[in-house]
Subunit: 674 residues, 2 copies
């Protein structure tokens, strides 16, 4: 892009000058302080300033196979650099990797996360000392194979078997049916030579449920599949081009007994199975990943907002009367209504992610001291927040894309790659509906405890309040307590309604389980309501940390917008028992429009605060300098179809067709110029 105009577009310049707060303040708040902001920028700059792949063609112009190859090359380079730079802190690695491969998945990603982590957490000391050095030195490259063609959500239903053979002291791994084949694991298809296989353990004629087994799938020297192994890529997907998600069938594949991870469960030389003492500790990993996804979805929405808001500040369209300058599209109320709720939602889930990580660390340290009682609350919340945040990402990212009209549809905008990279979050690490029902299960249990007068953990303590006959205290002050109370009331009302319906159905002859199924739509909504109530509290907690009066005012407006928008989108929940009245609805409707106008002058400064370098945003529309049209033109010129002026397609197909038609046609021969 050597020919790019330099300098910031004046329309963006003015936006930045007119903001009422200093963006770095919000940047620091979002990253945990000035020191952490500096560290993040430093780490990102290491990846951004690495020129190794600077001459690679634009990702958008590559075929799927080229994307995969480039990703492997990048993963290799990244692995070397991470070692050379000595990046061991997970946050450092996150920022480095994200800057190096924005919105892409590294084919080494699962090797460094799930494969390593599960062996670390479920392996014995002996197993760890054998395998971890091999992993860390890339002498083996692994992935994690859980999902099968026929089973994702319901892991108890996995069909792969691992049968102990006492004669040889081995397990025999089999894919007994078509649906038992492993399907989806990342980097399984062509990249890895090892994987952790989740399989049903059989020994002494009994099934002992799922265990993890280290299986060598490709020869470490030749990369050919091992005997009995059929493995390959599963083909193209909505996105994830750089990842060879794979399938795997195993036919009597033998592995040594010591390849079962035995920190908890064990199989002895004689084939005796021993159960783990406590399985709750296995939760930890999932809670941590789901908490991470919550913040990541928030940050991904912030990317979409950055693109859409900067573009809307330089895109001008339509005058009311001729002769006038056209308006910035950001000045249209309808555009603000599309983008600012997304902006507020983004902050809401970034804050929620920060809070839940803090809670996670707190609970983890308590667990180390033997206190497990806060784990269920955390598990329920992290499951529910993962579901809510990934749904919100989908909704808000597409809303931002469509708010950018035609140009939003181009890969140049950055939206498509962002969307297809994050939308699977609704499925992976637990299908959203299933997770929400787990959260609901916890909440209904808490409600029973509440009725019995038991103490409840802080985030569900509101379930002890009486629900009937309350009215909402929201008035023109929009004070935060009345907003929090409204969210608490809504969640409690929905959970109560579920409990009543289940009771009613059981009284009328349904089984407990059937009654639960027949209430499941409402249960997922109740779980969402609880999570949204927590998000509101987390948001408030974050902005109450005295960020300074100017930023405080901006955050307050976004907080109110998030809350009011969420209330209005779910207004049925708030009015069905008369809690909120018609006057209050009107008040909320009007306030929402006022808030759009209030937020407008700071919109660009707020997205600047997200502090996303152009190289990570990778968007012609979201550029910091606002030179969007020049960038779109440069993008077009890079198209592979433009490498030759008159393409082969013309000579091979169009020209012969035109000539054939000319002969057939009963019209005079066309002169070369009309």
């Amino acid at each position: 892009m050597a020919s790019m105009k330099t300098g910031v577009h004046p329309d963006l310049q003015i936006e930045r000058e007119n903001g009422t707060f200093d963006p770095i303040q919000l940047t620091n708040l979002l990253h945990g302080g000035p020191e952490k902001t500096r560290r993040k920028r430093y780490i990102q700059s290491l990846a951004i300033n690495d020129k190794t792949f600077k001459n690679s063609p634009n990702w958008a112009t590559l075929s799927r196979e080229e994307r995969y190859e480039l990703a492997v090359k990048k993963a290799i380079h990244q692995a070397r650099r991470v070692k050379e730079l000595g990046l061991t802190d997970p946050l450092d690695r996150y920022f480095y990797n994200q800057a190096f491969m924005p919105n892409e998945n590294s084919p080494f990603g699962l090797h460094n996360s799930m494969f390593t982590d599960v062996i670390t957490n479920q392996g014995t000391e002996e197993q760890k000392s054998k395998w971890l050095p091999l992993i860390q030195s890339y002498q083996i490259l692994g992935t994690y194979a859980q999902t099968e063609l026929g089973h994702g959500t319901f892991i108890r239903g996995l069909e792969t078997t691992a049968t102990f053979d006492g004669k040889t002291d081995e397990f025999i791994i089999n894919t007994p049916t078509l649906t038992a084949m492993k399907y989806w694991p990342g980097a399984l298809g062509k990249t890895c030579n090892y994987c952790l296989v989740l399989a049903q353990l059989y020994t002494q004629g009994h099934c002992h449920g799922l265990q993890s087994f280290i299986v060598n799938i490709r020869d470490v020297n030749t990369h050919q599949p091992m005997p009995g192994v059929e493995v390959g890529d599963i083909g193209t997907k909505f996105g994830y081009d750089s990842m060879d998600n794979g399938y795997l069938r195993m036919n009597n594949v033998r592995i040594p007994r010591e390849n079962m991870l035995m920190k908890y469960s064990k199989v002895s030389r004689s084939g005796v199975f021993a159960k783990p003492a406590n399985s709750k500790l296995l939760y930890g990993g999932m809670v941590s990943i789901r908490s991470f996804i919550t913040g990541d979805c928030g940050r991904s929405i912030s990317m979409a907002c950055t693109i859409a808001i900067r573009y809307s500040a330089v895109r001008r369209q339509t005058t009311d009367s001729s002769g006038e300058t056209e308006r910035k599209i950001l000045d249209y109320q309808t555009q603000q209504y599309k983008l600012f709720p997304a902006l507020a939602t983004s902050l809401a889930y970034i804050f929620a992610g920060m809070n839940i990580s803090r809670i996670f660390m707190d609970v983890t340290s308590k667990i180390r001291q033997g206190a497990l009682d806060e784990l269920p609350q955390l598990h329920a919340l992290s499951a529910g927040l993962k579901a809510c945040s990934s749904y919100k990402f989908n909704e808000m990212a597409e809303r931002c894309r469509m708010a950018c009209g035609g140009h939003g549809f181009s890969q140049a905008s950055g939206f498509p790659k962002l969307y297809v990279n994050i939308t699977p979050a609704a499925t992976y690490e637990g299908e959203n509906t299933v997770l929400l029902l787990q959260t609901a299960r916890y909440l209904t249990k808490c409600l029973v405890s509440a009725k019995q007068g038991e103490e409840l953990p802080n985030l569900v303590a509101y379930l002890k309040q009486p629900v009937d006959g309350r009215t909402c205290s929201i008035n023109s002050q929009f004070d935060s307590n009345s907003i929090v109370s409204a969210f608490e009331h809504r969640a409690l009302r929905l959970i109560e309604d579920c409990a009543h319906r289940i009771q009613y159905l059981v009284k009328n002859g349904k089984s407990q389980s059937e009654a639960w199924h027949l209430t499941s739509v409402q249960l997922t909504k109740a779980a969402q309501a609880h999570c949204e109530c927590c998000v509101v509290k987390f948001y408030l907690e974050q902005i109450s940390r005295d960020p300074g009066p100017k930023l405080q005012q901006v955050l307050q407006a976004l907080f109110q917008l998030y809350c009011i928008y969420t209330i209005l989108e779910n207004i049925g929940d708030f009015v069905k028992d008369g809690y909120l009245n018609s006057q209050q609805i009107e008040l909320l409707n009007t306030k929402l429009l006022d808030l759009l106008a209030e937020i407008r002058p700071n919109a660009v400064n707020i997205v600047d605060s997200f502090d996303i370098p152009d190289e990570i945003l990778a968007s012609c529309l979201g550029r910091y300098d606002g030179q969007v049209y020049q960038a779109l033109y440069e993008y077009a010129k890079e198209s592979k179809l433009n490498q030759i002026e008159v393409t082969d397609v013309y000579y091979k197909h169009l020209k012969p067709f035109f000539e054939e038609q000319k002969k057939l046609a009963d019209v005079p021969i066309l002169p070369s110029r009309l």
Copy 2:
């Protein structure tokens, strides 16, 4: 797929046996009678049984450039076959093309539609007799170039100029700025040699606004760009890989004066501009396209439903207790709640499309007799319905995809291609928000007329009713009249509220135009409410045509589900003035769950009624025979990465990396078997 299992999956077989109605009845209703169903099937079979491209690789495995080439080859073959078969009826062509290139855009599409149509409608007799034979015999291949880099929605703002040069009797076409470059027109990049250029006409020193010009952009013999023309592909997009959407810059490109389309506006030899007598007639084309999009979005949702519902009837997941057979996921209330509202919405917009096409033909014939008074109502409705239907497509298609979990994310599912092909409908042929505001403009005018006691056209006649103090009559009977009244009340209430707000703002010193802007969010919602009210009426009209008692019952349940779901999703509109009360909300919530259970046994038969051949659905999950797992496995094996067992990526990158790391590592050399 030679190795595919044959026979229908027993889980689907049972669904089909257990349905309460005969699917062919609904098929006929949706297609306009048995004769039209037969014709549709015959036409589709002509394309499906054409084996010319049967040995082409799976579309999902091709690169963007290969997809473009295949599309050109298909377009050529299609053009030949359409001539040979003598397909002249637009509906025949639609079914043929759709079956031949499902969810793809033909690079000849705009040649045969916009390019031909605009010349036909806006050309003089002389122009038509010169150009149409050249078009029909493919001696020239054209497209329609309206959108520019800087202007889409606001066409008055287009910057391309056409300046009359009296000396040579020519127009000089120019792209005066960066933003004036044409950007997005389909097939412009590499395929076409002609285009219709929309440009500001300058003659005798004055600008006379936009006119259409026939411009030769590539030499018809060499395909090289004409002097002064810079043209190319705009690069990859979210989808539309088979289409070379292009950019075009023109520098003093000269065309003869006769290349301006002059049926309405004219420029004489001496450069005198003459205005058209009546410009309203230009509306017709847009109304027709937008009406078509409405039905097309409905049909596209029906494709998503077909995939998701058939898959959900064979996918089994989770048991309540071990030993039981796992449940079909279609039996979960949460899954029904995702899919059945989509099913009902699909029918709603298919019916709306059928109705609006009927109204369009009716109004068109009246226009031919000189009666233009129904055109504004039709224009407002077709604009609004296009917006509503395309938004609904986006929401429902992604909802269906995500309801299929991981497998929905694979291109094998068919969802990604469907989604990216239809989602631009929110932008093309009028940006949705802009269209809704046009609808709102019409409605506010009608409201003024209503207050003045004037007669209103039938679909807006409800605006004459008094709005205050009414209460909703919906009770446990859910009778259709009370439902229609509720939708009428909601729309009227929202339009009234807009009018009040505008009045209030004007009284408080805002200009009329500023007051309109400050009400625009509500105005778009009012427009949506009006359109949804019309959709409800159209639906009712369709099912009241006595389709027989069994089908009637199914359609009635879907009608009620559509209405109740829509009311609950927008409940704030219905409760804010006290129209609907708490008991009624409870009633609706409960009824909705009952309807899910009622529709469940017919779900598969309903999607079968959409009568979409497997070849068009192109989905491993949506196959008529339900053999989804076998199909996914076959799909995986087709991946290009699987063509070689050990890929080049291994030899070029992974192997050298492993060897390098082995040397660096301070661990024993790994034996070939662990």
